[in-house]
């Protein structure tokens, strides 16, 4: 590769890795051929569609398109959190998940795009879409973990919550250890990823910019800003989430549902 474009033939050559994987699983009789094929095809098709959509939007940058894409990503992330919970969630809890994610992501993005990156015009899809994608994706992982820990905690520590209520604790006070634990487990991956940054792995965005010919120092500045944005977005969303989500487990008479 001499920099710049990657030809279709060059791209095709990368599928050799999938072929090797397929041969290995067949020889070892691990029944995963179907999943490997389907997921590589899905990855290819999904990314190609996204590529076309993005180039269409980049060529027609109207605020409307950017906002629609943003909302689509956000709804998909919320839906994913519901699905990843692995059990049916109450309506009440679903509403609170959607509310905290919507509010957390939009506030973070507004600050990050308008103040930190000073993107102009504010809806410039070349910046807004990839950055929103990263922030929303990480937020989704955080909230998923938070939901999981909260549900687990409310089940495992039900007697503790009850006994606190019996002594006159408010629902917030009674579920505080569970709330804190949920916050902790939701934030841990983001905090850990900051520690390994640059040493264990070079994050995708930066790598992409460098390959695309950007100055590494500038690419790293962007990456630092994005990491901070991700941390901010995840923590804001998770704080909002735990602060309102525990209420879904109590009724208006401060009784456990």
């Amino acid at each position: 590769m001499t920099g710049g474009d990657l030809s279709l033939w060059q791209l095709a050559s990368a599928y050799v890795f999938i072929l090797i994987l397929l041969i290995i699983v067949r020889v070892r009789k691990i029944r995963r051929e179907k999943e490997i094929l389907i997921s590589s095809i899905r990855m290819t098709v999904q990314l190609m569609i996204v590529g076309y959509i993005l180039s269409f939007i980049f060529n027609n940058d109207y605020p409307f398109f950017t906002v629609i894409i943003l909302l689509f990503m956000l709804s998909f992330a919320v839906y994913n959190v519901y699905k990843r919970a692995g059990e049916p969630l109450s309506r009440e809890l679903k509403k609170r998940i959607a509310l905290s994610m919507g509010l957390g992501v939009i506030l973070t993005l507004a600050y990050f795009i308008l103040v930190t990156l000073s993107v102009s015009p504010w809806y410039n899809p070349r910046y807004v879409i990839p950055i929103s994608g990263m922030i929303i994706g990480n937020t989704m992982t955080g909230v998923s973990l938070g939901v999981h820990t909260l549900l687990e905690g409310m089940r495992a520590k039900k007697a503790m919550v009850e006994s606190a209520l019996m002594l006159g604790a408010t629902p917030n006070e009674a579920s505080r250890p569970i709330i804190n634990q949920a916050f902790d487990s939701a934030m841990l991956p983001t905090i850990n990823s900051m520690v390994g940054m640059g040493i264990v792995f070079l994050p995708g965005m930066m790598t992409g910019q460098i390959i695309g010919g950007a100055d590494p120092v500038m690419a790293i500045r962007y990456q630092i800003a994005v990491m901070l944005g991700i941390t901010g977005g995840t923590s804001l969303t998770v704080i909002l989430f735990v602060q309102i989500a525990y209420k879904a487990f109590f009724n208006s008479r401060s009784q456990l549902k």
């Binding site: 007697a159 503790m160 009850e162 006994s163 606190a164 209520l165 019996m166 002594l167 006159g168 604790a169 408010t170 006070e173 009674a174 250890p177 008479r253 401060s254 009784q255 456990l256």
Partner: protein, 220 residues
């Protein structure tokens, strides 16, 4: 009976409780007796407003349970659950946490130690709560609510994990305290000895219905 503390009317809860009318006196030691599964604990939880009746009403000091702020009610009508619950940390943490839950300031170690003596628990305040036996945990939970010193105590089998001798010691101290401080105690118990020796008012429940209630004049 002068003005009762709890007045229950036409109460129904699932297929567990059906009480047409029941009055529980104030400043007395009331024992609720009956077979397992008869609805005794459900009734206690109802008085502490951990659950609401499907229909009917409970008046507490002449005020409908629905007119009470549930948190304020539970700070006045404190309940001790049958299975003692320990929070992570030491015995001290477990005693203090009740005060925190009730929105009150912590107290000195001397006061905490006095409480432990009152429930005859020979453990240091720094002992890990996880290392306690069932009976010890039960006594820590009892000390925790005694520390709150509420006007009404609901106790669900407070001495079930204790031997006869310790039960007698704790009941003597508890009833003495209740009489002196004019507390209302409502206690679910399986022990006929506790009823015989300490109950001033007895309510018997069978399959969710009150089958007997009244004063015990033959108390020693």
């Amino acid at each position: 009976m002068n003005q009762p503390l709890f007045q229950i009317r036409q109460l129904k809860y699932r297929h567990i409780l059906f009480i047409d009318e029941l009055a529980i006196p104030q400043r007395k030691i009331t024992c609720i007796v009956g077979e397992s599964g008869s609805g005794k604990t459900t009734l206690l939880r109802m008085l502490n407003h951990m659950i609401s009746p499907d229909s009917g009403d409970i008046e507490i000091s002449g005020r409908s349970v629905y007119d009470w702020d549930p948190i304020e009610l539970r700070r006045n009508v404190v309940m001790l659950s049958q299975t003692p619950v320990m929070f992570p940390g030491t015995v001290r943490d477990n005693l203090i946490i009740g005060l925190r839950f009730a929105g009150r300031a912590p107290v000195t170690d001397a006061r905490l130690e006095k409480m432990l003596k009152r429930v005859r628990l020979n453990k240091g305040l720094d002992a890990e709560s996880a290392s306690l036996s069932g009976g010890e945990k039960q006594r820590v939970s009892l000390a925790r609510i005694l520390l709150l010193d509420p006007p009404v105590l609901l106790l669900d089998e407070p001495t079930s994990a204790l031997d006869e001798e310790t039960t007698r010691f704790i009941m003597e101290r508890l009833t003495g305290y209740a009489r002196q401080e004019k507390k209302t105690v409502v206690m679910v118990t399986h022990s006929s000895a506790v009823v015989r020796d300490y109950a001033e008012y007895v309510i018997e429940i069978k399959s969710g219905h009150v089958v007997k209630e009244g004063e015990r004049h033959d108390r020693r």
